[in-house]
């Protein structure tokens, strides 16, 4: 199974958002080939105004698009990967690979975690970053997701997990695989607690992550055109000995097969998530525990933003 799909060109082409970009840079759209002015792309939330192609964006950029402004407070920013296997591949040691990825992205690992509000509703959130080693899930990503689930339970928040990943991280071997069990097992507890879990799939959402928490949302939303699948296309092609049908493993295909609830363009994501949370918020009277009052300020018609949750710095 290919857990990690390398798309060098794609990475370079979409690296720019959120990072320092020389003024007036043009980016070629991966979808239609149109040359796009950086500023126009940014205004369109890194989607192509011509064909609608959704560019991959770093976790912090996505965070800015999704949560209420100024509401994010980062948690567990200090978590750093170890090197439990003493892993070394053909080119470098795992710690060196980590260091390079850290320098490239400004992140410690392939996800950013914290608390925030979306449409005024309190959420525990983890957003994966594809630019950090292909968004691969090792112990740190697994732990960030696990702690987000526990935080949702402890603080009666909705859980929002945004996937952007090639799957489990080979360099941590079996420990990466076990993150699938760790996160999924905790989601059983979340379900028992009657707290909503929204899983958002962006390009790509594949392999070990899709085969664990990403597929377990109460509601699963996917960005248009995103790659959503378990096995790598190359492996499947080898298995069946023929080419894959067009659109195979794209979000629209997966919707048709019944494994995501909705395809949501990035421009509408915050609104749709807010709207969804509104249903769960009302039905649980503010994500309240059974027989308890809401720990949050619960209004039948809550204020537009910041309802009951302290706003933190959008840390970096």
């Amino acid at each position: 199974m290919s857990w990690l799909k390398r798309e060098r060109a794609g990475i370079k082409g979409t690296k720019t958002p959120g990072v320092e970009v020389p003024e007036g840079l043009w980016t070629k759209c991966d979808g239609c080939g149109e040359a796009l002015f950086q500023k126009v792309l940014e205004e369109h939330l890194w989607t192509c105004p011509h064909c609608g192609h959704h560019f991959r964006v770093p976790a912090r950029t996505y965070l800015g698009l999704l949560v209420d402004e100024g509401s994010f407070s980062e948690r567990d920013a200090g978590l750093q990967a170890g090197d439990p296997l003493g892993f070394r591949d053909a080119r470098m040691r795992y710690p060196d690979r980590l260091k390079a990825a850290q320098q490239e992205t400004g992140l410690k690992d392939a996800a950013v975690s914290g608390v925030a509000t979306i449409g005024g509703k309190p959420v525990a959130i983890t957003i994966m970053d594809f630019f950090f080693m292909g968004g691969s899930m090792g112990s740190v990503v697994g732990e960030l997701v696990a702690r987000s689930i526990e935080r949702a339970i402890d603080e009666r928040r909705a859980l929002v997990l945004v996937s952007a990943t090639g799957g489990a991280r080979m360099q941590e071997g079996i420990l990466s695989l076990m993150q699938m069990a760790k996160t999924s097992a905790l989601l059983a507890r979340l379900q028992d607690q009657r707290l909503p879990f929204l899983s958002i799939l962006t390009d790509p959402s594949t392999a070990g992550v899709l085969a664990s928490y990403a597929s377990l949302g109460d509601v699963i939303l996917a960005e248009p055109g995103s790659l959503v699948g378990f096995a790598g296309a190359r492996v499947i092609r080898q298995t069946i000995g023929e080419d894959l049908p067009p659109g195979f493993q794209r979000a629209e295909f997966v919707l048709e097969k019944g494994f995501v609830d909705r395809i949501v363009p990035r421009q509408r994501m915050r609104d749709e998530v807010s709207q969804l949370l509104e249903f769960f918020w009302r039905s649980t009277r503010g994500f309240a525990r059974d027989g308890d009052g809401s720990p949050h300020a619960f209004h039948p018609h809550p204020p537009a933003a910041g309802g009951g949750v302290q706003a933190g710095p959008g840390s970096r």
Binding site: W3, A168, S184, A188, F230, I236
Partner: protein
């Protein structure tokens, strides 16, 4: 025995010689020679099998004569009654499931099943399950839990089947749901990795209270060949990747992912199916007995904790409280 691995060859040649000599041997001199050869064979076996490289273990784990799930079913249990189908789409022969007795105890047995020959492998897809296989497994595990029957799972798969239909029918969802639902089953679950523990496809029936591995089995996030083709850009560098991935039973015990390693007959489980199965049966007995008195809630809580603590990282604790 026709099929042997490269590193097994010297042993087999010596053993063949012994057999031939024994067939014609007469007299004291021949007996002495025989004894000497047997001592040599023993030394050779010890040397070879005590110093296997990780990739040689991979080869043993995949050995075509290795006992498969149904071989253990035959040797470890009695009254086996196979049950079929996921009740939604179909039955998947890559996973066998059914009821059996371990001594006097009724148990649900779930196992990934490889084929002995080409025809059977076509049917069982080399032990690579489709979503309906995982859903059948979960259906029967939930049935077991309802009737307070412990669950035994036998892991032996290269991975979940990477096919078109598998993707269309939600391979990822099937695995994910199994991981979550196994975590809350209220009966003891003991897993034995008997051959290949291939990634998510293996884990999907292996969220258990006790996870054991046979000495020459492997358990890995990705096949060594798959890892090599990505990180070494050369699928033939499997032996290097096998070393790097730390996928042997001993490695996994050291990493505290599995609870015990079950010794195999010298030369590997394929040399003596009955002996290998006897070890497995004893281990199952012991571990199911140990788990049988644990109250349901504690059992589930402990199982969650077992996985919750997995992961190696440092916490700089720089985050605001």
């Amino acid at each position: 025995m026709s099929a042997w691995l490269d590193f097994e060859k010297p042993v087999f040649e010596l053993e063949q010689k012994i057999e031939e000599l024994r067939a014609q041997a007469q007299g004291r001199e021949a007996a002495a020679q025989l004894g000497e050869l047997e001592r040599q064979a023993e030394t050779l076996r010890r040397e070879i099998y005590a110093n296997l490289t990780p990739y040689q273990r991979v080869q043993l784990a995949r050995h075509p004569k290795r006992p498969y799930a149904l071989d253990y079913v035959e040797h470890c249990f009695h009254g086996w009654l196979e049950l079929h189908g996921d009740r939604h789409f179909g039955d998947d022969p890559a996973i066998v499931a059914g009821l059996a007795f371990l001594d006097e105890r009724p148990v649900m047995v779930i196992g990934q099943q490889k084929g002995r020959d080409t025809k059977e492998n076509l049917l069982r897809r080399f032990g690579m399950a489709n979503p309906e296989g995982y859903r059948k497994a979960l259906r029967l595990m939930q049935t077991a839990a309802r009737f307070r029957m412990p669950i035994v799972t036998l892991v032996d798969t290269p991975g979940a089947y990477p096919g078109l239909g598998a993707e269309e029918r939600g391979q990822a969802e099937a695995i994910a749901v199994n991981l979550r639902e196994m975590a809350r089953l209220t009966v003891p679950i003991v897993t034995v990795v008997i051959g290949e523990g291939g990634s998510g496809g293996a884990l999907a029936i292996a969220v258990a209270d006790t996870v054991l591995m046979l000495e020459n089995s492997i358990y890995s996030v990705i096949s060594p060949e798959g890892c090599a083709s990505i990180l070494w850009r050369d699928g033939k560098k499997g032996p290097l990747a096998a070393e790097a991935l730390k996928l042997t039973a001993a490695d996994l015990e050291r990493l505290e992912i599995v609870d015990g390693v079950l010794p195999e007959p010298i030369g590997g489980a394929h040399r003596d199916h009955a002996a290998a199965a006897a070890t497995v049966r004893q281990a199952l007995r012991r571990h199911l007995e140990a788990l049988s008195g644990v109250p349901e809630e504690e059992l589930v809580a402990r199982r969650l904790q077992r996985y919750r603590r997995m992961g190696v990282f440092r916490d700089g604790a720089e985050s605001p409280a």
